[in-house]
Amino acid sequence: MRFAVIQFGGSNCDYDAHYVLSEICGVDTDLLWYKSGLSRAYDAVILPGGFSYGDYLRAGAIASRTAVMEEIVRHAREGGLVLGICNGAQILAESGLVPGTFTINAYPKFICKWVYLRVENAETAFTSMYREGDVIRIPIAHKEGRYVAPGDELADLEASGRISFRFCSPDGKITPDSNPNGALGNITGVLNETGNVMAMMPHPERASEEEIGSVDGKKIFLSMIRHVEMNG
């Protein structure tokens, strides 16, 4: 089993993601500069957080049009796992791998804080170690994280269980007060149609060790590892 973390110019959570995967979760993980491409087959590709291309044009827009993304689209089409975290989520939305887009927060400032998420679907490759309805504590750090999708796509996401996480109160209620960025329906984690690509704004790699305040995010990586183990 081997995972890859892609580094773009401006990625800044690449080492965190690599550290958590390799040291905490014990999976062989390569750090790959985007220009070198996917040098071999990988079971999972992580697009980490940061500010690729300085967020110019729109967050994630320029990184999503690079050659390595064409390889990642092929990897996803062949069933490989892809996880986009924060800027990685913006890149996945811009590339069309997940529906909708993440745009400027309703109150247009950078928000960096701990929030609560409710696990909406615990039967995905990224969430199987949770139970549906679990409330997890995890940090966000973004200015362009407000999820937006057209009405018909939202209905489709809801009906097909492709919403993985919503912002919630500490006791698991989906309320306007618990929505830090104005995201549509408090949504902050979405999956593609085949369930092997997930985009999420919060940072699970910053919530994978007791020493830094929470281990609630670690189960996302462990779910991915389990999925690969079970599906070869």
């Binding site: 729109r58 827009a61 049009r65 811009e94 909708g100 887009t101 109150y107 247009p108």
Partner: protein, 81 residues
Amino acid sequence: MKFLIKITISLKEGMLDPEATAILHALANLGFETDELKSAKVYFIRLGADTVQDAHAQATKMCERLLANPVIHHYEIEVLQ
């Protein structure tokens, strides 16, 4: 022939525009009375093309492939010269 193209990218009707709201409030703080403020991004691009239609078609492709996000934006193209 060389053409100068102006591309305006703006939010679709009904989309929340938090930056515009912040600017509107700042104008109000300066004493300006305004009813509405919308923001947009404008790009000026110089390029070679055989005809005006060809220049327009190239600009359309640029909008569809990079400059606009169809979930939230619409775009307008003007061939200026």
